[in-house]
Each structure stands twice: as C-alpha cells, then as structure tokens.
C-alpha cells in the first residue's frame, strides 16, 4: 500500500507518496523523476544505481523504499553546487572516464562515499572500493585515474 514517506534528498526535505515495498531506484526514477540514477541489472550486481544513503554507498535497486523514511539520501543530481561541478565530476572529465556515461553516476556516488571515509586511498583500497561497479567501456584505467585526480583536487 502506498503511503507518505519523508526524507532528505540532495539536501532538501521531501515528502512523497510511494509504495514502501518498491525499490528506492524505482521511487527515485518513477516518483521523484530523478533520472540520473540508472538501472543496469536490478539485482545489485553492476552498481549503476549507486546512491549515498545515510553516508553509505548502496545499490538503490536492492533497498526498499521504506528505508527512505527519515533517511539522508544523495543522488548524482545533488553533486553540482552553485553551477560548479563536484571535484569528482571534474576528475571524471579530465581523466577521460566518460565513454558511454551510463555507469558514471553510480561510480561517482561510490567514489564520493569512499573518499569521505578515506580521503587518500591506496591503489588496493581503490580496487576494493570500486569492485562492485561495472564499466564496460573504459577498462577502468581512466576511472582509477579519475579517483587519483579527485583526491588531489579535494586535498587543495
């Protein structure tokens, strides 16, 4: 049964009417029209739908909407600030980590959560942090480069 759900999305209080048994991914896309979060598999295997939920990067296709209640959620739409790209977004562009772009929002949210916890990850920590997100285009080299560029940018 649909009901009102209240939470903070991208820094703004939102109340919406949704099925608490729907996936967060479906609610974001179909109810809140936040289309930046992508579905690649729907089974938690590809990471394209990664969002930040209460400070953690999660696959939004596996999280039920009732877990949105009173949660703090960040999606890709919340990263640009005052018309400026977030350093991770800038780093993706500089590193050439945008090919088809479909996995980019998920990767960027995963990296944001990772760097908030560990602002200067080692190569091995980057690998461990990103192993749940799949990119078919880049061969990951440019994505790894992007993380390193973002680390430098954020240190400044």
């Amino acid at each position: 049964m649909k009901r009102d759900i209240k939470c903070t999305i991208n820094g703004r209080q939102r109340t919406f009417y949704a099925d608490p048994c729907a996936s967060v991914l479906d609610v974001l896309r179909d109810v809140l029209h936040l289309m930046g979060t992508k579905e690649g598999c729907g089974t938690g295997d590809c990471g394209a739908c990664t969002i930040i939920w209460n400070g953690k990067a999660v696959n939004s296709c596996l999280l039920l909407a009732n877990r949105m209640e009173n949660a703090e959620i960040w999606t890709i739409e919340g990263l640009m600030k005052d018309g400026e790209l977030h350093p991770i977004q800038q780093a993706f562009i500089e590193a050439g980590a945008t090919q088809c772009g479909f996995c980019n929002p998920g990767f960027i949210m995963r990296i944001k959560a990772m760097l908030e916890e560990n602002p200067d990850p080692t190569d091995e920590e980057i690998t461990q942090g990103l192993v749940g997100n799949i990119c078919r285009c880049t061969g990951y080299k440019a994505i790894r480069d992007a993380v390193k560029i973002a680390v430098k940018k954020q240190r400044r």
Binding site: C41, T43, L79, G96, I126, N133, I134, C135, R136, G139
Partner: protein
C-alpha cells in the same frame, strides 16, 4: 600569430558534463504524457509452431490497452542483411522468439497480461550445435530461406540447408603449399557465445500520429538502418518514419540492428496514438536478444624450414542463432581476414554462417578478430617453438607491410604492423619479476591482428553557420561513447578555423540529418571524419566568397581563424563569421546568397566486392587496421586461476585525432577482451535456454580483474593517404589481441595449450593434469 589546433590534442569529451551530472538522457529516461508500457510475449521453446493462442485471461488484466500477436500483422519479412524475420512469428525458432506483445498503462500490468497469454505449441526438434546444423538434412530452421531477400555478397545461401552464407577465399594452391611445407600444424578452436555487456539494456519509445507518421526514439547505433528495417517490417515509407537516437549506454555491436523497436512500433499501431515504451530487463536482454556468435574453427598451417608460412587452410562454422542478422556479414568479413596479418601465398578459406535454434548472434566489437586471432596466434607460437624461433622475430618475418597484397588481393596503403610489434616488444622490455611463490607460474605472450572495415556505406554530414557565428554540426555518426562527437568537433574546428567551444554536435534525426548507416566497423573517424572535412570546406568556401564581397578583398587573400575571416596580407582587416551567416546585404537592403550550410559526403570510389568463387577483390575494405599486444600472466597452479599482470598494446591508427580517447578505446577493448579470455561464456542448456542471464552468474571484468600495468600506444607511423589527417580506426582492434596474448602467456607459463575460450580454472587444472601430450584440445 599562433592558431590553436585541435586535431591531435587530448580534448575532453564534448558531452561529458551531462554524463557526470546524470543529465544525459538515455532511452529508458524518456517519459511522455500518456505513455504506455509494452512487453514481449516470447516463445518458451527453441523450435515450435504455435497451434493456438488464448488471450482471454490476459485481456482481463486491468490497464491492458492492446495485445497483439502474429495474427494481427501481415507477414512482412525484414532483417539486417537477410530478410528472414517477422515482427511476431507463428514459427518460433529460439527460446524467446517474439510471438506477440502486450501494452498497458503500467509495466506491471503489461507483464502480467503477457504472462497470462496461453499458447499451445507443436514442439519441433531443434538443433543447437553449428557443426550438426551444418550437416543436418532433417532439421531445417528456415525451410523458405531461398525465398528471402538478401544483400549480394552477404547471402550466398545453400538451398535446403541451414547455411545462409558461405564465403570462399581461394588464393594460390594450398595443397601444393602443404606438400612443400616442412612442418604442418593443425588446430581446432571452440569459442562460446558471449554478451556485449552494455550496462544500458535495450530501450525505446515509439509513437504513431493519426496522420500515419511513426516516431521512434531508441538507444541505437544505427538510426538509418533502423529506419530501413522499420520501413520493411511495418510497411511504412521512410518519409513517414522518424528515428532519433538517444544517448547510447554502451553498444559494442549489440545495438546495431533493429530489434525491440520493430515490435514496439508494431504494437504502437494499436495503442490509440499514445507513446509506447519498451525497456528490457537485464534478464530479458540476456535470455532473448543478442550474443556474440559461437565459433568452431579448424586451422591448418604449413611452414617452410626457414620460418616462412607458405599455406593456410581455414574452416569456420559461425553460429548465427535463429536469424541471420549480422552473422552473414561476420562469416564474410571475419572469413576473409581469418588467415591473419601475414604474407601467405597459398590460402584456402571456407567460412559459413549457420542457423541454429539459439538466441540471435549479432555484430560484436571486431567480430571474428578476437576469435580467429585466438587460434592463428596460438599456432604461430607452436610453430615458432617447433623451429626454435623467437615468437616476435617469427611474426616480423611473416608480417604484412605497406604495398603488399593481403589474402583477398587488396594492396595495403597503410600498414604499421611491424612498428606495432617492435613497439610492444621494446616497451614490454624484460619480463617483470617472477613471483616468489612456487605455486605461481609466470608467462608472457604476444598476439598480433588485422581488421577490415567497410567500403559500401557512404556518409553525409551537414554543417550550419548560426546567425551569431557559432556552428552546429549535424553529424551522421552516432557517438556511442567512443567519442565521435568530440573527434568530429576537433576536425571541424581545424577545418573552419574556429574555437571548439563554438561548435555543437547534434545527434541524428533521420528527418534532417545526412545519411550515415551506423556506428560499426571502427569506421566513423575515417568515413565521417572525411565527410565532416568536406562539409567544413564547403561551408568555408561559401563564407570566404561572402567575406570577399563584404571586405572587398579577393578570396585568394582571405583565410579563416578564430571564427573570423581575415586578410592574409593585412590581418587587421577581418570580419566575424556572423557577418556573413545569412549571406551578404548591400547598402540598399538587397541581399546576395543566404543562410550558410556546408554539406559533405564521403564514399569509397574504388571499393569492390569479392569474387564469390575466389574471394578476391581489389578493395573490399576502405582501410586495414593492425595491432600487437604483449600480455604477462600469473597462473596459480593450485587453483588454476589466471591473473593478467600486464598488457602492452600498440595500435596502428594512422593518426590519433584525440590520443587520450584512442587510449580509452585500447584500454576498454583490452579489458573486454580479458573478460572473454578468462571467464565470459553464455551457458545454454539442451533445451536452448540461457542458464546465466544475470550479472552474478555471467561475470564481466571489474576493476579488480585489471592488470597492474596497462601501456597503450597509438602508432602513427603510417598515416592513411585517404584518412582524415591520416586517421584510420581503433575501437574494434583493441579487443582482438587479449585472448590470444593471454593464451600464449599461459602456454609460456605452464607449457599447455588451450584452444577453447574462456580459459577457466577448470580447463587449466585439467590441462595440467594431462600435461603430456602438451596440446590440450
């Protein structure tokens, strides 16, 4: 005065801001007022005839608007090369073959309705193995094949068989070659089907207007091919069909042919002129749409004592699945390049596309290259080993070079293969440190390749000068992530003499964009690069003409730079492009000329078909690409696990218009190739049903599977005389070498040969157990 040049620079992706902010619109992101959702009704059997279909329960589902089946449409045949499909079929030929579709107010209602359609089948015997299907007289999957329409050169069918195409190459006297050879090596390869693995599944939105016009928005690599297929399948003239491609979330060949769009458009005819959206789930995408073809291949190679290859015989059985789609093209093109990038006087090739009752195989990044390279490059190492030759020197001795004729008799005008081999050898240097652990064996392998492109696909590009002096390029290249929008903008900026920030590249709308068949065959930089240059030059000629009238300076003294027309002899005299964007106005208010548009086309004027009996032809491919790669691996002899620790790649690109994007292609192809080499395999059971249509049972490479080191070198020593700034292509060759290089590295590490992809731990352990004889087939 210095002028900024863009060609050759690492310009960042012109569409990247939208990609990193999630603003890029993919087909599944489109929501229109009144939109319905459609799902397919698919066959449960690999081969059957539908005897009865009962819609009564399905029609009771709340929200259902229409359910259609094969009964509702005339049997209009369509296909990419062979017209062997219909929108909905009474005679399903694979598990998942579309029989009908249901459209409803919600996706859930459409799914429910589709699941409630009751179908009675007469189940027919099916056939899944291409070698069996090749011989079969009992099971003929397309009994009416001889009545189908198909493209010449791509549809050399044999009536009464399952063979829609047979490509022959006959060069020299292969049996004489074998008789003269001092050593003959024979091998058999098997390659399973694999997935394209595009993270965005197939999706589209179709809408009819009451006046009979159809609009299709789709994630497609080929809007014009899609329009052609829609026109044939639906029976609408092309001027009543608009195809617009959305952003494409990964293609790799899997979005080249029309597929779900045709079915969605068919049901949209019955949906009250409302938009109809179809989005495949991962499971449906992988159970029922496309794979790379499976292959069984046989190689026989004869070599003389001095290490010269003198004869090669190749037989390839390509598993097309239920419909020919791109597979007849695979059999043709992969066939004629299957002898490898070597100078071989005697060649005999038979390459067959074969129908089976499996899901459809289609184009896949560099089709045929990775598969045949996997075989001929392992054979090269076996031969080198036999003669005690260095594998690098042995390849250099036989490698093709500029001026030589290849297997089909095409004289090469650009071939940097030897440079690629020398470069990877040099960059790889000495082998990296061996592991301390005794159970880990380290090895190194090399592989080289060549790749054809197309010749019969003209492109047309249109450049508009806007009133404010900025530029809009209506490209006919679909940017599927490879970066063609950026590359075309770089080329155009240099041709026109304008900042790249003043150029916008807009996606194809078949109503007004110039013709461009599709993004395929690593052809866009070469073909569209050329037509973009010509469109730019056409526009530049016009603005110089108008500029001459405004400035009262002869055209011969005018040039363009930084968005201005200026005098070469007196550079202070200049006007901005905007001053002539609408032509020239005189003082009385009259006007000469008009809004400025440049138009450019590119065709391969000296292209040629292949002779059907000998496979010989002057120029079946506009250019050839070459590459070499060295892989280093560590194999755990306890677990059979392979870890690639290093890739060194060199790709003969003619000229890198954007070196960083070229490296992006090489790196991406390397890891896609690594996946196919080590773990990717679509598992199909005896009933023809896919068993691992999800991303946990079908594993694709993650960042954790990548080598510690990847060196990717664009090689620019052989600019192509016809290429834009000398450029050729790179996307597909990037994927061709990894599997072969890894297999050779494994053989180097363990002394065992594995001729079947993927190189799973089971195969490694099995091979180690039976280490004698050395070759595991």
């Amino acid at each position: 005065m210095s002028v900024k040049k863009y060609v050759g620079e690492n310009i960042t992706d012109v569409r990247s801001v939208n990609k990193v902010t999630g603003a890029t619109q993919y087909a599944a992101d489109i929501n229109l007022p009144g939109m319905l959702y459609a799902v397919m009704i698919r066959s449960e059997y690999a081969h059957a005839v539908v005897k009865d279909i009962d819609l009564s329960e399905a029609l009771k589902v709340e929200g259902v608007v229409a359910i259609v089946t094969y009964k509702d449409f005339p049997e209009l045949h369509f296909g990419t090369y062979v017209h062997d499909q219909v929108a909905f079929t009474e005679h399903p030929k694979y598990v998942g073959d579309p029989i009908g579709a249901a459209a409803a107010e919600t996706e859930e209602a459409a799914e429910k309705a589709a699941s409630l359609v009751r179908i009675k089948y007469e189940v027919l015997p099916h056939i899944l193995n291409p070698e069996e299907a090749f011989k079969s007289k009992e099971i003929i999957i397309h009994p009416n094949m001889h009545t189908y329409k198909g493209y010449a050169g791509f549809f050399n069918f044999k009536k009464g068989t399952n063979i829609p195409n047979h490509l022959k190459v006959r060069k020299g006297d292969v049996e004489k070659g074998f008789a003269e050879a001092d050593y003959v090596v024979e091998s058999r390869i098997t390659i399973p089907p694999i997935y394209h693995g595009n993270i965005e599944t197939h999706a589209c939105v179709c809408k009819y207007d009451p006046d009979g016009r159809l609009t299709v928005q789709s994630t497609t690599q080929g809007p014009f091919l899609l329009r052609e297929m829609l026109s044939t399948a639906i029976g609408l003239p092309m001027n009543r069909i608009t195809v617009v491609h959305t952003a494409v979330g990964g293609g790799f060949g899997g979005k080249i042919s029309g597929n779900i769009e045709i079915r969605a458009a068919a049901i949209a005819q019955k949906c009250e002129y409302r938009p109809v959206k179809m989005v495949l789930s991962r499971r449906e995408e992988w159970e029922t749409v496309y794979t790379r073809q499976a292959l069984v291949g046989y190689y026989k190679t004869g070599v003389s004592k001095d290490g010269k290859i003198i004869a090669r015989k190749v037989t390839l059985y390509w598993d097309a699945g239920a419909y020919a789609d791109y597979e007849v093209s695979v059999a043709r093109s992969a066939g004629y390049m299957s002898a490898g990038p070597y100078d071989i006087p005697n060649i005999w090739i038979d390459s067959y596309a074969i129908y089976t009752n499996k899901l459809v195989a289609t184009a896949y990044r560099g089709f045929g290259c990775s598969e045949t390279t996997f075989c001929y490059e392992q054979d090269m190492d076996i031969i080198a080993d036999k003669f005690g030759l260095d594998p690098v020197k042995f390849r250099l001795k036989n490698a093709l070079e500029r001026g030589m004729e290849n297997a089909t008799g095409q004289r090469l005008r650009s071939c940097a293969l030897k440079d690629c081999i020398n470069l990877v050898n040099e960059k790889a240097g000495r082998e990296t440190k061996k592991s301390e652990n005794d159970g880990i064996k380290r090895g190194r392998g090399i592989a080289v390749m060549h790749k054809f492109t197309v010749h019969t696909v003209p492109t047309a590009d249109i450049v508009k000068l806007n009133e404010d002096g900025t530029i809009t390029l209506e490209t006919s290249a679909v940017d599927i992530g490879q970066g063609s929008n950026t590359v075309m903008a770089q080329i155009l900026a240099d041709v026109l003499g304008i900042g790249i920030d003043k150029i916008t590249v807009v996606p194809i709308n078949t109503d007004y964009s110039g013709y461009g068949w599709q993004t395929a065959a690593s052809s866009k930089t070469f073909f569209n690069g050329n037509s973009t240059i010509r469109a730019g030059l056409d526009l530049r000629r016009k603005i110089l003409h108008y500029g001459s009238m405004v400035l009262h300076i002869p055209e011969s003294d005018l040039a363009t730079r930084d968005g201005k027309i200026y005098s070469l002899s007196d550079p202070d005299k200049s006007i901005p492009f905007s001053a002539v964007s609408l032509g020239v106005f005189n003082e009385e208010g009259g006007q000469y000329g008009g809004p400025v548009i440049g138009y450019g086309v590119f065709t391969v004027e000296d292209g040629s078909f292949l002779d059907t009996e000998t496979g010989q032809g002057r120029k079946p491919s506009a250019f050839w690409m070459f590459a070499a790669m060295i892989a280093e691996v560590e194999v755990n002899t306890e677990t059979g696990n392979i870890r690639v620790v290093r890739f060194v790649s060199a790709n003969d690109v003619g000229k890198a218009i954007n070196p960083k994007m070229v490296q992006g292609q090489i790196n991406g192809g390397a890891i896609q190739g690594l996946g196919s080499a080590l773990f990717e395999e679509v598992l199909i059971n005896r009933e023809g049903k896919v068993m691992n249509a999800n991303m946990h049972d079908y594993k694709m490479p993650t960042i954790g599977d990548c080598p510690d080191e990847m060196i990717s070198i664009p090689v620019e020593t052989q600019p192509h005389p016809d290429g834009p700034f000398g450029a050729k292509g790179v996307g597909e060759p990037a994927m061709a070498c990894p599997a072969a290089a890894i297999a050779n590295a494994v053989a180097d590490a363990l002394g065992v040969r594995i001729y079947s992809m993927p190189l799973t731990p089971e195969k490694i352990l099995d091979a180690l157990e039976k280490k004698s004889p050395k070759e595991v087939r």
